[in-house]
Amino acid sequence: MAERRRPAVSAALSGLTLAALVVLVFALPRALPGDPLAALDDPTSGVAITDPELRERVLAHYGLDQPLPEQFAGYVGGLATGDLGWSIARNAPVSGLVAAHLPWTLLLMGPALLLSTAASYVLGILAAWHRGRTGDRVALVGLTALRAIPEYVLATLLLIAFAVLLPVLPVGGARTPFAEHGSGLAALADVGAHLVLPLATLTLSLTATLFLLQRHTVVAVLGADHMLLAEAKGLPLRRRQFVHAGRSALLPLLTAVGLQVAFAAQGAVFVEAVFAYPGMGSLLLEAVAARDYPVLEGAFLVLALVVLAVNLLVDLAARWVDPRSAAS
């Protein structure tokens, strides 16, 4: 019974989370001081809406002249039909903006999560195995220090190192504008070159946290009976390290990865800002600056859905790794 009820419960919980999200992404932007129509003003040019009638008309166009409950009803109604609204600052459909920015964030977040998980799995086991030795100490001190550095500082350091001092990588953007590549492979390489620094930043940041956890878990496992048995049976070292010790430590790692997804999304926002990477982070930062309610609502919601979806995947992976977790 327990196994059968749990998916229902988690579905209900996800539903509740989603409902809370919808309310939050609607309410929070409106709690910010500032006027969304100010996005149409232009301090540089001196262009501003000076005609009160026009102001009313534009407010009505975006439904901002209505009381909040009606605005909320309109927003939820739009969501139900898949309409995320129209950006005030960018004069474009929010769904189109999300479609243009989301793939870049996924390209950054997905590989960063995979790479950091794989790296901390391997490094964590090796460090725990050789605990107390130089390699372990270096990794421990280095990664602890790395963990203390905020993403945007790390990003700036990498930017200075590999794009300014040793200019081998592009400094910003996701690809070279208007470049005429000879082949699809060259175009792919261009995207790859632009991805290296943002991806390295995010991966290093995530690895730092996961590594410490993985090392700690493996250290705890090392003295376990099954490890002694494996050694007594004369199993090869690699097998004992990565299968026996690693598998025991995999579950806590996966749980941590689930938690890290939200941090990865948050980290991506900062990393994208430093590298002018055109992902959801850039979209969100501009929308916050412009108080662009429709974009804030749409982008936060989609990003939150991505985090929920990846969490769900991690949850499924955890069940697959350890069927007991489904039963417990």
């Binding site: 500032g34 050789h130 070279t176 504008p177 070292l237 850039s282 979209l283």
Partner: protein, 582 residues
């Protein structure tokens, strides 16, 4: 036991390095990466990638010699919407849409109105009838002829059709104009009948900031113009056609429309490239020109380094940082003597030296940029310094009665002022202003807020003193009417200022039929503003740009067009010259 670990880490590092190097290798054909590889502040060889520049070396494009065609001009990009007539965003977006869609008239860098789609125009003596004659060979990009009926449609679509709901600047200007009717007299003649004379008609309706002319055969059936993005939404009559637009990255590529009414454009492609920082992008060869926003606080070393490597263009500015006093905040803000004391106490020349590296000028007390052709001469400059300020403050009863160094209100209560400012600009400005006012015993605390918050407070008048930046002081002087009369609507409006004579003069200049009449009204209006000082323009930074003269060298500021910057007036892209007759 440790050796395998080291070996695998090394192997991993190698794989990453090889992948990174391969990735760099693959993109060598692009201008951006070329530049990345050569980023030592070195000058770009714009021809190296075959994309940047033609061989305009040595040509004097502003002179008599016909300039050579420039293959591609690379300017700073950004997210300014889609360049359709209703899909663009704000001033910089309008400049991009203006490459594709023409207006009847345009403006050169001398500030002169020049013929564009219309080859000639005339206004009746009463200022109510404007008649435009279109060029004979005007056509849309799709080959259809452009007729007077299209011009009539362009107006009616906004005034009576769905175009009026789009929140783009030219729509607001057309709706705000007192136009009674627009009619086509024949295929090439279109007549605007006004309800009352409008001095800024040439600019705000027919010209630079005015109505983009759109094809009736495309927009006739479009019900939701802001959202219309089909291929034909980009069919205009302008000198360029949109080739590529990356909404997420903020890049635009326009290619010349060789059949344009003014002839085949000199610049073959205008590329707007997304960059993080213009000077850095110029230095690494990703841009052909970098415009420097002095108001954001630019390090002197950076300006010097750019000046050493590139050609410099510096023009008098059109943007200003102004000190707004909200007269509704009560005593002493509603006292003229208090506002004059502030003007004496603030050393504006010092602000220009310290904040703008001397590249700029103190603002005019009349409310327009000193370089504005309508700016009045001989206005008071309030250069009396702390002594003159102290005398005025003493006269108001604002004295330091308890000897703590700070002036109190006449009733002995402490007097502390919050100075609202936006984090969008150099935050040393509020600090320096507070420092200068402290010298006369005024306790001023900078209140720097995030831009959206500061703008909203400025718009709502939630301040006693505020530093507000805006770029319309170089524009048509009708901005004085918008700023100082009526209910404040914009963030740049003066709050609590009501003056009957100002209202009268503002209306008179708006309806003036000839320039002398307008100038007389504006001179008196500015004299009153300089006396009353609801707003004190502190400084106007120069428009400063750096470029590689080998690529293209027709860069100049266009009066009344801040988003034109030094490089974005399409006249220069079309003719390579800064005036129409070269």
């Amino acid at each position: 036991m440790t050796r395998p670990t080291r070996r695998s880490s090394l192997a991993g590092l190698l794989v990453v390095l090889v992948v990174a190097l391969l990735a760099c290798e693959g993109a060598v054909r692009s201008p951006d990466d070329d530049a990345t590889a050569g980023a030592e502040g070195a000058r770009i060889d714009a021809d190296a990638d075959g994309q940047a520049a033609g061989d305009a070396d040595g040509d004097d494009v502003g002179g008599d010699a016909a300039p050579a065609r420039v293959d591609r001009l690379r300017l700073a990009g950004g997210q300014w919407g889609s360049p359709t007539p209703f899909g663009y965003v704000r001033g910089p977006g309008m400049i991009k849409a203006g490459l594709v869609f023409d207006t009847l008239l345009w403006r050169d860098v001398d500030g002169e109105t020049i013929p564009w789609l219309a080859e000639s125009w005339e206004v009746a003596d009463d200022g109510l009838t404007w008649r435009f004659t279109l060029r004979e060979d005007a056509r849309w990009h799709d080959g259809e002829p452009l007729t007077a009926a299209d011009v009539v449609f362009s107006h009616d679509y906004i005034a009576e059709g769905p175009g009026g709901a789009a929140g783009v600047p030219h729509v607001g200007r057309v709706l705000g104009a007192p136009i009674a009717e627009v009619a086509a007299e024949d295929e090439r003649t279109v007549v605007f009948e006004l309800e009352e004379p409008m001095a800024s008609f040439e600019t705000d309706v027919a010209g630079l900031w005015g109505m983009l002319v759109i094809p009736e055969h495309v927009w006739g059936d479009v019900e939701d113009p802001a959202r219309y993005r089909d291929d034909d939404a980009f069919v205009g009559s302008g000198p360029y056609r949109l080739v590529e637009h990356d909404e997420a990255a903020g890049s635009y590529l326009f290619e010349a429309h060789d059949a344009h009414v003014l002839g085949s454009p000199l610049v073959g492609e205008v590329a707007f490239v997304p960059v993080d920082d213009e000077p850095r992008a110029l230095a690494r060869g990703a841009l052909d020109v970098a415009e420097v926003a002095l108001e954001q606080g630019v390090p002197e070393a950076q300006v010097d380094a750019l000046a050493a490597d590139f050609a410099v263009v510096e023009e008098r500015g059109q943007w200003n940082m102004a000190l707004h006093t909200n007269l509704e905040a009560g005593f002493p803000f509603d006292e003229r003597a208090f506002r004059q004391a502030l003007a004496h106490a603030i050393d504006r020349a010092d602000l220009v030296d310290r904040l703008l590296l001397g590249r700029g000028e103190p603002g005019s007390t009349g409310g327009l940029a000193p370089a504005n052709a309508w700016s009045a001469d001989g206005l008071p400059a309030y250069e009396g310094g702390p002594e003159a300020a102290a005398e005025l403050l003493d006269g108001l009863g604002l004295v330091d009665a308890d000897g703590d160094g700070w002036r109190q209100l006449p009733d002995g209560e402490p007097f502390a002022i919050d100075l609202l400012a936006s984090a969008r600009y150099d935050t040393r400005t509020p600090e320096l202003v507070a420092e200068q006012l402290a010298k006369v015993g005024l306790a001023v605390e900078p209140d720097v807020r995030d831009p959206a918050d500061a703008d909203e407070r400025a718009r709502a008048g939630e301040y006693a003193l505020a530093l507000i930046g805006y770029g319309d002081v170089g524009a048509d002087p009708d901005v004085l009417r918008l700023r100082y009369t009526g209910e404040p609507q914009a963030f740049s409006a003066a709050h609590g200022f009501a003056h009957e004579r100002v209202d009268e003069l503002a209306e008179r200049q708006r309806r003036a039929v000839d320039d002398d009449e307008r100038a007389a009204a504006l001179d008196e209006l500015q004299a009153i503003l300089a006396e009353e000082l609801p707003v004190l323009s502190l400084y106007v930074p120069s428009q400063l740009g750096f470029f590689d003269p080998g690529a293209f060298d027709a860069f100049a500021a266009t009066p009344g067009c801040p988003p034109c910057g030094l490089s974005r007036n399409k006249l220069m892209h079309v003719t390579g010259a800064t005036t129409l007759e070269r």
